[in-house]
């Protein structure tokens, strides 16, 4: 029972929809809407707004709340047992580039590639996109709102989204 309560709490706390937000990820949401091979996750601004109401009980919680409270939404499409992961990865990278995103970081290894890109205006990052691809895996994820790069690793650590942890390298390397 606790497991289900936790799953529910996790979804209430982490995982919605901001249909007004037209972004690269929306294309893949629509494309794979009825495809059961892909898991679609969306978290609305309503959900993130809940974090502004909370009082932190520890410095760790305070950091997390501060980082998350400025987010307006998250959308993610995940396929982890597909046949065309590499092709989708290449396609998504082109979409990201066409949409005017600036590459932030790329991580490559034998099994998977990750690229993080941002949209920035006036020193404020309004959207972060992660694209990941391997032989059998594809992930495209968008975080939008007001994003502070200094806090990205904290969000990454807390949200436990596969691949997002790579952003911790930004803090380690001072790549900000």
């Amino acid at each position: 029972m606790k497991k289900y309560l936790m799953m529910m709490a996790l979804m209430l706390g982490v995982a919605s929809t901001s249909m007004a937000q037209e972004n690269v990820v929306s294309k893949y949401f629509d494309k794979f809407s009825d495809n059961e091979e892909f898991v679609k996750v969306s978290v609305s601004s309503k959900m993130f707004s809940l974090f502004t109401e909370l009082e932190a009980g520890s410095p760790e919680e305070e950091e997390f709340l501060k980082a998350v409270s400025k987010l307006k939404g998250m959308k993610m499409v995940v396929g982890d047992s597909i046949s065309n992961g590499a092709a989708l990865y290449k396609e998504a990278l082109i979409d990201v580039q066409k949409a005017g995103f600036e590459e932030l970081m790329m991580v490559t290894d034998a099994d998977e590639n990750f690229q993080f890109s941002i949209k920035e205006k006036g020193g404020i990052i309004s959207e972060l996109i992660m694209v990941a691809g391997g032989k059998k895996q594809f992930i495209v994820m968008s975080l939008y709102g007001e994003i502070d790069l200094n806090n990205i690793s904290k969000i990454a650590r807390s949200m436990k989204v596969n691949g997002l942890d790579k952003l911790e390298k930004l803090s380690e390397e001072g790549g900000n």
């Binding site: 309560l5 529910m8 209430l12 679609k40 978290v43 809940l50």
Partner: protein, 157 residues
């Protein structure tokens, strides 16, 4: 659909009407009974559930899971002014969380993972900031499942 025409302040009944013939097991939790679920007495869990005033959980039967009829219930709630907070669907998941802000916040949703599915109705809130800590504890501990709880007679009403 008949579920849509509900009087105001009868939001709980929309779900109750649906699960009348489609649930295997029903759980009704209040703060005291929620704390009983926390057998390992993790203080973070108790803090997370503290603002919950009432939680109804219904495990759905296989036919309602297969037909995805529960989505009509969610549509009915949307028409009652509930808004999307979170969705996960595709693969083995079909999770939807809707919320409505009144004097006390109300939540309704469906959690399906694999062959199991729950519908829930929650009045109150959840201390979201406790979730990262609790997710870590879940990975470290072997938590009991609903089936275990059911076998141990944990069915409250």
């Amino acid at each position: 659909m008949r579920l849509i025409s509900q009087p105001l302040f009868a939001q709980e009944s929309i779900l109750k009407e649906f699960v009348e013939n489609s649930n295997k097991r029903k759980f009704c939790f209040y703060p005291s009974t929620l704390r009983m679920v926390n057998l390992q007495q993790d203080p973070a869990f108790n803090e997370m559930i503290a603002p919950i005033e009432k939680l109804l959980l219904y495990s759905l039967d296989s036919s309602s899971i297969a037909s995805k009829e529960y989505r009509y219930v969610l549509d009915a709630y949307t028409q009652e002014g509930y808004e999307d907070y979170a969705q996960v669907y595709g693969g083995k998941f079909d999770i939807h969380v809707l919320g409505k802000e009144r004097k006390v916040r109300e939540w309704v949703g469906v959690l399906k993972q694999g062959d199991e599915a729950f519908a829930f109705y929650l009045i109150g809130a959840v201390n979201w900031q406790k979730i990262p800590h609790l997710m870590n504890s879940i990975q470290e501990n072997d938590l009991f499942t609903l089936v275990d709880l059911g076998n141990n007679g944990g069915n409250w009403d």
